[in-house]
Amino acid sequence: MIEWVHPGLIFVVAALILPLFNTALQKIGLLLVPIAAILSVAVMTTGTYGEFNFANVFLVIGKVDKLTLVFAWVFTFMAFIGSLYSLHIKETSQHVAAYLYIGSALGVVFAGDWFTLLVSWELMAFASAYLVFASRAEAATKAGFRYLLVHVTGGVMLFGGIVLHGLETGSFIFGPLTTESGQWGGLAFTLVLVSFLLNAAVPPLNAWLTDAYPEATVTGAVFLSAFTTKTAVYVLIRTFPGTEILVGLGVAMALYGVIYAVLENDCRRLLGYHIVSQVGYMVAGVGIGTEIALNGSSSHAFSHIIYKGLLFMGAGAVIQMTGRRKLTELGGLYRTMPWTVFLYMIGAFAISAFPFFSGFVSKSMVIAAAAGDGRAATVLLLTVASSGTFLHTGLKLPYYMFFGKDCGLRPSDPPLNMLLAMGIAAILCIGIGVFPNLLYALLPYQVDFVPYTAAHITGSLSILMFTAVGFVLLLKYLDPENTVSLDTDWFYRKGARLFMWFAENPVSWWEKIISNLSDTVILRLLARTARDSLNIDIKGVDAIVNGVAHAALRLGATARRLQTGIVTHYAAAMIFGLFVCITFYSLIWLE
């Protein structure tokens, strides 16, 4: 039996052969492939696999330890849920892109060396970009290009950092880059950190997420929400545990996402800002760096993938069935989409960290880690962000989407596969909440944390209830408005326009001069020389050849005229010739 199968490879191979099958077989494949991957993760044991030398670099494609496994589990689960959710999509290219995306995300998770990580990282960017392009709207194409631009920039920075790191240390094995005191490290450190922060959507590098995710396809956004940012969290846990700046960034992120969510009208953009907010918890956990903090980040990533996927699935279902995405245009859908509402609310409770839901047992671990590390401000601010999370995702979004002012539409529940996918995710959310030890067993470090203490439950519930009260009282002020929020992408969007002006005016002017030169001078010179060469050939060389031939013909014609046919001429010629020979013989030869 093969010792170890790379689950990412299962997805990549499936992506490549999927187009060869007909629709029915494809659907079966879409369900079987994630199951096969889940099984491969289930039988996996820790260790290092897939080591080989390639062009003087030592590659490790399968480094398996507990941290790897926890992410591998959740990724493969999400792959199954997402595949089930997108089962009805007929365009094979979307499935292929999704599988390449998942496969490369798993490639990053299992990477034991920097180059494998880089290759998988880049593949993730392109495969996920396709999921944005696939909605085929003009806004989607533009957003997809911005997404691709940002990620390729990040990829190039990562490449630079890897090469510098390799030159400095002589090794490309994937490992922590932290310095001893958790302070700033050199250029390689910075480049890699910035690149990871970009993928984790840490402000000010977050705008790509909230720009692209609302434009992606309904099913594509589910995949997008799960993988890119959490892969970034994984690599942050691996390479920068304990880096002090991450705490500040994480907390700022958590609040930033929540504040922007207040202003949001597009339901999926609001959820996107919440991704930013939740990832803030994870980043802060990485920054704190203690075992419980890293446990917290991992477990929060696990839960977040599931419940965020569920929320995106719910919002996506609404968009699919109504064709609308703005909260100002929605409302009153509970009448005809009861299942969607129900399952969405489970996700909303999970993200809000209600007891007996997954968020409760994972988010609190990060906050407890902060408390354990003596960071009062962090605890306070993260708790505020928690409250904000419930306000927006748990109250505002469902109220304006499903309840509230009736928009007049009566859509039915989405197709069965989508409901089933949401259902599985919901069961997981509740399951993790009720049986947290199942999750805790997967975590990298020993877990001493007990989520269900009386203090914790009462504390959480009180915050949530007061938030709800606040929502009710301030409902008027929370009405969504049809506005566009300016985020940090203003800089590069405007910057891009400036760059285009520069390219189209000064650079283009210079280019015209050079091209003119090329056309008027050089090309004409080339053509002239070619024509002249041809003239040399035809009128020069060939003329000589033909001239010789003509001369030979004329010589022959002239010689022919000597044959007059008159015998006396021949006799005269013979006598003359005899005379010349005798003279020659007597005068010269006899000497």
Partner: protein, 489 residues
């Protein structure tokens, strides 16, 4: 095993094939019979190649029979690392020519096939000959079938082109004969090439003989300024004639340099090297410009042959290992790529009966598979990395820069010109808007044509990506040649 006259069989098999053809009347049977013999010859060539010892520099499969002992003439044949490659090339192009002429030759099919078969025998014989007299007889004899192929089955100005080709080459060859006789006198009354290589001739004898040989080989290569027969011959010849002409006959001139001028006359070679390099450089650049000025497809490729063979002679006379291997490899490559280009153009002509570039456009949309092959061969001709031309030109250029920087610069200019005219040719013909044709539509390549094109395309990639076997076969012989050259200068 060595006693079995493999080479003689290889040489005479196509000629034997003429005999059954004489009695046949059905055109289809004639074609198949000719194909059978040339393909059998090709398989035999593969067998000889397989049994060839690539580590030894001496002649292999040698056969020696006294012919006219009083004059020191014998029937001696043998192959070394260089000639085995060209023997293989000739055998390969033989059956491809037959297949290419399947539908395009419609009158006097029997006579045409007989001409091709006789040409095959003579050409392989030339590459295998180890006796100067035998070499000369075969060299001269080749003119007749070629003259007939161009003069009978060619285009509108075929008679002019055939006579021009014949007289040009004959004039050169007559001077070659004088040179041979001088060598015979000075070399101890023998025509045997191997023993003549060992003789140390005086410098004045070497110089004169070199000049005499130069005329003959320069006409064949063709070098500037005796190249003007080539465009006319190529344009007027039928497809098979062009393939053989470009694929094999041109190589014989350079082979003559390799087999006679360099090893037998090393001092003269060193003495005249600047002249040769100068003429080669002129050929490279001048040929490139000429090709650029053409509006006829075949003429363009013909002039590009002048340019490419300029590279070959440049490589031959820079006398270093890289350049020599590059030159020999480039001879093989040129046979493949230019043969393939002429094949492709011939296929096109078969359909539309026009060779004017302006009559074509947008072929990519009409005949994509054909265009892919045409593009591949154009790229090979341009020496794009990954194709065979790149390896040859790279080696030659490295030698050229080693000899003299300006020569290298001129060679690079020539390579750039190649890119200019080949790419603009491809652009006019294959890309852009579709130009409608009067004589019906063009159809894409079929099985028969595909086989020919594929056989050539295989070599383009093989040599381009893994040239080691080819470079390995010629290495010992070239090493010995360099040794002989080193004794001089």
């Amino acid at each position: 095993m060595m006693n079995f006259p493999s080479l003689s069989l290889l040489i005479f098999l196509p000629a034997f094939g003429v005999i059954p053809l004489l009695f046949l009347k059905n055109a289809s049977v004639i074609r198949w019979m000719a194909l059978l013999f040339t393909f059998a010859d090709f398989l035999l060539a593969i067998a000889v190649l397989m049994r060839f010892d690539a580590t030894s520099a001496s002649m292999q499969f040698v056969e020696h029979v006294d012919w006219v002992p009083s004059l020191g003439i014998s029937y001696a044949v043998g192959v070394d690392g260089i000639s085995i490659l060209f023997t293989f090339l000739t055998a390969l192009l033989g059956w491809i020519c037959i297949l290419a002429s399947w539908n395009s030759i419609v009158v006097k099919i029997k006579e045409f096939m007989i001409c091709i078969l006789v040409m095959q025998s003579l050409m392989i014989g030339v590459f295998c000959a180890l006796d100067l007299f035998l070499f000369y007889v075969l060299w001269e004899a080749m003119l007749i079938p070629m003259y007939l192929i161009i003069g009978v089955w060619g285009g509108p100005r075929r008679v002019y082109a055939a006579v021009k080709f014949f007289l040009y080459t004959l004039a050169g060859s007559l001077l070659f004969l004088v040179g041979i006789i001088v060598l015979y006198q000075e070399g101890g009354q023998t025509f045997d090439i191997l023993s003549l290589m060992a003789v140390d001739f005086s410098l004045s004898v070497q110089n004169w003989v070199f000049l005499l040989f130069l005329v003959a080989f320069a006409v064949k290569v063709p070098m500037f300024p005796v190249h003007t027969w080539l465009p006319d011959a190529h344009v007027e010849a039928p497809t098979a004639g062009s393939i053989i002409l470009a694929g094999v006959l041109l190589k014989m001139g350079a082979y003559g340099f390799l087999r006679f001028s360099l090893p037998m006359l090393p001092d003269a070679s060193h003495y005249f090297a600047p002249l040769m390099i100068g003429l080669s450089t002129v050929a490279i650049v001048y040929g490139g410009f000429l090709a650029l000025a053409q509006s006829d497809l075949k003429k363009l490729i013909a002039y590009s042959s002048v340019s490419h063979m300029g590279f070959v002679t440049l490589g031959l006379f820079t006398f270093n290992e890289n350049a020599l291997s590059g030159a020999v490899l480039q001879m093989f490559n040129h046979g493949i790529s230019t043969g393939a280009l002429f094949l492709a153009i011939g296929l096109l002509y078969e359909r539309t009966h026009t060779r004017q570039i302006s009559d074509y456009g947008g072929l990519m949309k009409i005949v994509p598979l054909y265009t892919i092959y045409f593009g591949l061969f154009s790229f090979a001709s341009m020496a794009v990395p990954g194709t065979n031309g790149f390896i040859g030109e790279l080696l030659i250029l490295s030698g050229a820069f080693g000899a003299n920087v300006w020569v290298g610069v001129a060679a690079v200019i020539g390579a750039m010109l190649a890119a200019v005219y080949m790419l603009s040719l491809f652009k006019s013909v294959a890309l852009g808007p579709i130009v409608t044709f009067e004589e019906g539509t063009i159809w894409d390549i079929g099985q028969r044509e595909g086989v020919c094109l594929l056989a050539l395309a295989v070599f383009i990639f093989w040599i381009g990506l893994y040239p080691k076997p080819f470079l390995g076969i010629m290495a010992p012989a070239l090493g010995q040649l360099l040794g002989q050259l080193g004794q001089g200068g």
